[in-house]
């Protein structure tokens, strides 16, 4: 069984190699190869899952060493895999959703002549992401971490002929780099503190390390998580990343890669539990981001960017939960999985809508699409109900638990975090209702595009709708299934541990509160977008709306706080380099040159001149000898 773990990664890696190196011969069947290998990976994952269920609760973890990577003296870093319940959850999510999105992409990318390459990148992403969650040490995790960053860069910029896409890809790459520096520093700190990178010794050895060091490691890990999961303050890339093809947004920038930060924090839970300050930072980042993303999501008219804001906000929930410690780990992962279903479904729905609307993304130019694309409407609607936490659907179970856990943190902190989570739930209800109303309800607001083509909204082909249906089913039932008999909790508890905390509010009270804010949010949106006709061009809006449309000024902030000083610093350095460094270098060169030009005259080639200097030198030597004797 252990050997199958390597195959899990190898299958998509083989696909990537085949598709990227295979050349044009594979153009006709590349997408089938890519999809088949993704599916193969999923099947292997399912087999491993069945095998894991067959074993006892505490010996479910599998370990597989592939080869010794860096053996140096007593230290060794291995390419080794660790498959426990946490990794298993991710493997199934990644390969499952990944396979569905591969299938969806066959239809979505049908008219793109670089489809083979697209599938190669998708397979590369799957391989890297699986490596990330299966690694048994931080160094190998780092390889996967960089691999998904690379795949993300390649896929955001897949339509690199569009300057906006190329810029967005670069932006994502650079912002991610900031986070990656955090991860690499964290790994270095671990090495100096524990002398190893492997999860098991590091996480069991935390008691022997000083709290200051653990806090530093924790903060660096948080920085890494912020970069990869688009959390404040490294959130700015996610909105622009929507320039990539929609399946990419669904797979990488909603369901899987952006949740890597949550995985990292959950996996390193032992470090954070021993460093309360780092934990506080985590929950702060989570709470701020969940509100930040939600507010941004309210203001965007671009359907994908509204969903991106929502993703940011939902991951904020997960980070918040993960920062709560054992109270929240399980719910963070649970929300991660359910979010993977419904957000992927929502994105695929958005892609389906765009597919039928000539790639129009402005929701103000949609309206009344439910009659034209019924399947998309139903699946999107189910995803919508799931995300806002409609009772009984996935989001209800997972999000409700997170809010409960936030209150259970206790003290003032608990009230603040719980309040923020509740407020976030209200805003979520508002912006998702807005997206729903603008897209599928109201009157038609379509306009011909620049080429004069009137859009003819139509349902997407079955290769696109089937994955949407599957994901919609997941969005509806996953949460309930997980909460039935607390099965998900029992499944993950051996890995992450769990505690109930001491909630000041009963579970019923929290659920009731959640329902109330949900109704308020939906009602507000209905009042604004359901009852009144929606203008085709956005009204000017309040100051907050305008700020939110600009992503709450995040780019302006980065520009003023980082880009400008950086430019001034660079200019200063260039000036110093030109004037001072070059001046010294050129001055030295000129000085040596001039001196040599003068010294060269001594070297005239006449042996007699040299003889004179020898003669004089001998005289000086005698003089020196006499002087020394005289002294």
């Amino acid at each position: 069984m252990e050997n199958l773990i390597g195959l899990l990664v190898a299958a998509p890696l083989l696909g990537a190699a085949l598709l990227l190196c295979g050349g044009r011969r594979l153009d006709g069947k590349g997408h089938y190869i890519g999809t088949a290998l993704a599916a193969a990976s999923f099947v292997i994952g399912a087999v491993l899952f069945a095998d894991m269920l067959g074993r006892g609760e505490h010996d479910r973890a599998l370990h597989s060493k592939v080869f010794s990577w860096i053996p140096v003296g007593g230290f060794r870093a291995d390419v080794a895999f660790q498959l426990d319940q946490l990794s298993m959850t991710f493997v199934l999510l990644i390969t499952g959703v990944g396979t569905l999105i591969h299938i969806y992409s066959i239809g979505y990318m049908e008219h793109d002549e670089r489809r083979r390459r697209f599938f190669g990148y998708l397979n590369l992403f799957l391989a890297a992401m699986l490596l990330l969650v299966l690694a048994d040490n931080y160094l190998l995790l780092y390889v996967g971490w960089e691999g998904v960053g690379l795949a993300s860069y390649l896929l955001i910029g897949f339509w690199q002929h569009k300057p906006s896409a190329a810029t967005a890809a670069k932006k994502a790459f650079i912002v991610n780099r900031v986070g990656d520096v955090g991860l690499s520093i964290a790994i270095m700190l671990m090495f100096t503190t524990f002398g190893t990178f492997t999860f098991a010794p590091v996480l069991t050895d935390v008691d022997n390390a000083s709290e200051g060091k653990l806090t530093a490691i924790g903060l660096m890990l948080l920085l890494a998580a912020c970069g990869k999961s688009a959390q404040v303050p490294l959130q700015s890339w996610l909105g622009d990343a929507m320039e990539g093809p929609t399946p990419v947004s669904a797979l990488i920038h909603a369901a899987t890669m952006v949740t890597a930060g949550v995985y990292l924090i959950t996996r390193s839970g032992a470090i954070f539990e021993s460093a309360p300050d780092a934990q506080t930072a985590v929950v702060t980042v989570g709470a701020v981001t969940l509100l930040f993303g939600a507010i941004v999501g309210c203001a965007k008219d671009d359907i994908k960017k509204a969903l991106a804001g929502s993703t940011m906000s939902q991951i904020g929930y997960m980070i918040l939960a993960a920062g709560l410690g054992p109270i929240g780990y399980v719910f963070a992962i649970m929300h991660l999985v359910t979010h993977g279903f419904f957000k992927a479904g929502l994105f695929l729905g958005a892609g389906s809508v765009m597919h039928g609307m000539n790639d129009e993304v402005d929701m103000r130019k949609y309206g009344g699409l439910r009659k034209y694309m019924p399947v998309t409407f139903v699946t999107f609607g189910l995803g919508y109900l799931a995300i806002i936490g409609f009772p009984g659907l996935s989001g209800f179970w997972s999000k409700d638990k997170i809010i409960e856990a936030a209150f259970a943190k206790g003290g003032t902190e608990g009230w603040i975090l719980g309040g923020a989570a509740l407020l976030g739930a209200a805003i979520t209800a508002y912006y998702m209702t807005r997206v729903m109303l603008l897209t599928f309800f109201g009157e038609k607001r379509w306009v011909p595009d620049e080429a004069g083509n009137e859009p003819h909204p139509h349902e997407s082909p079955s290769s696109m709708t089937i994955p949407m249906i599957v994901l919609a089913v997941g969005s509806v039932f996953a949460g309930g299934l997980f909460s039935l008999n607390d099965s998900f909790l029992k499944w993950l508890e051996p890995v992450t541990g769990h505690s109930h905390g001491d909630s000041p509010l009963s579970a019923a009270t929290v659920t009731a509160g959640t329902m109330v804010v949900l109704v308020i949010g939906v009602a507000l949106a209905w009042a604004q977008y359901g009852r009144r006709p929606v203008p085709r061009t956005a009204p000017r809006g309040s100051l907050l709306t305008r700020a939110a449309r600009r992503d709450l000024l995040q780019d302006d902030f980065n520009h003023v706080a980082l880009v400008k000083p950086g430019q001034y610093l660079t200019r200063g350095l260039v000036y110093v380099d030109h004037k001072l460094v070059d001046g010294v270098v050129n001055g030295t060169a000129a000085g040596v040159g001039g001196l040599s030009g003068r010294l060269r005259k001594l070297q005239n080639g006449y042996a007699r001149t040299y003889a004179v200097s020898m003669f004089g030198g001998a005289a000086v030597l005698i003089a020196a000898t006499l002087l020394m004797r005289a002294v």
């Binding site: 007699r608 004179v612 003669f615 004089g616 005289a619 005698i622 006499l626 004797r629």
Partner: protein, 306 residues
């Protein structure tokens, strides 16, 4: 030389002192001549003189073996080698003593005077009042004493010097040897080539031969009185060793001829046979000139024919 026999002396014999002052002065003069003579041959001869005096000083200092070696090897062999090379390079070539390097002479004077003074100061500093003399060391004979040292204490140095000499001899041969890369042209080939090119088809004109200088380094004169370089051997031309036949020297020669003619005329008066001799000589001279002219005209006609 009596000082050499004394075990520890503070002064030498008066005879040696006298010899030192007389011969020392000559040695210094010889050295000065060596560096100041314009012709290398004179320099070599002056140096040979200095070396002989040094040999005498060696003998005076009890170095009998070295004194003889100095004469045999240095003066006899090395200086002769010098003279050979001087001959090879051009015995009559005189150097100009005009300095061409800027400031060289001043620097040389400064360094020389400074060096000399410092050296003398150093010797004076040693302030030697008494010495041992070689009586003890030379008691078994100077040559035997040296041999004992050379073949015991200095035997390795001696052997290595032998190797050095062999190397030097081989080196000199390698340096002066020129490998012939192609077959030497035979006389027939050379003459055929001359005919083919059409230059110097007849033998080259002979050099001018005057009564006073029956030498090959005097160019023959063309009918207009200008010297013809062609008449002088190429090697001498290459060395620039053609004797001057400028107007002044020609005038001098003419005056000489005049004088000899007058002298010969008187002789003619006394014996006709001598006059006939003189006539013959003059006739030869003219013939030479004509010959040169003939060669020149032959050249010209050939050039025109071309």
């Amino acid at each position: 030389m009596s000082g050499g026999l004394a075990a520890a002396a503070s002064t030498t014999s008066t005879g040696e002192a006298l010899q030192f002052w007389v011969l020392g002065t000559i040695a210094v003069l010889g050295a000065l001549c060596t560096i100041l003579m314009r012709k290398a041959v004179h320099s070599a001869l002056s140096l040979a003189g200095t070396m002989i005096i040094l040999a005498i000083f060696y003998l005076a200092n009890g170095a009998y073996f070295l004194g003889i070696v100095q004469i045999v090897v240095y003066t006899g062999a090395i200086m002769m080698l010098f003279l050979f090379v001087v001959m090879l390079v051009g015995v009559t070539a005189a150097d100009s003593l005009k300095e061409t390097l800027k400031g060289q002479r001043w620097l040389a004077a400064l360094c020389g005077i400074g060096f000399g003074i410092l050296l003398c100061a150093g010797i004076g500093n040693a302030s030697l009042k008494s010495w041992n003399g070689l009586g003890q060391a030379n008691s078994g004979g100077n040559v035997e004493g040296l041999a004992a040292l050379i073949f015991t204490k200095y035997v390795f140095a001696f052997e290595i010097t032998g190797a050095l000499l062999i190397t030097a001899a081989v080196g000199a041969m390698v340096l002066t040897h020129r490998e012939r890369t192609e077959r030497a042209r035979t006389q027939r080939e050379q003459s055929e080539e001359r005919v083919r090119i059409g230059r110097n088809v007849p033998p080259l004109p002979a050099p001018g031969v005057y009564a006073r200088h029956n030498a090959v380094d005097i160019p023959g004169l063309l009918p207009d009185g200008t010297p013809s370089e062609l008449t002088v051997n190429a090697t001498l031309r290459g060395r620039g060793q053609i004797r001057d036949v400028s107007r002044e020297s020609l005038a001098e020669l003419a005056a000489l001829e005049q004088r000899s003619k007058r002298w010969l005329g008187r002789k003619t008066d006394e014996t006709a046979a001598s006059g006939g001799d003189a006539e013959t000589e003059n006739g030869e001279n003219t013939a030479n000139g004509e010959n040169g002219e003939n060669a020149g005209s032959a050249r010209n006609s050939r050039g025109a024919a071309k």
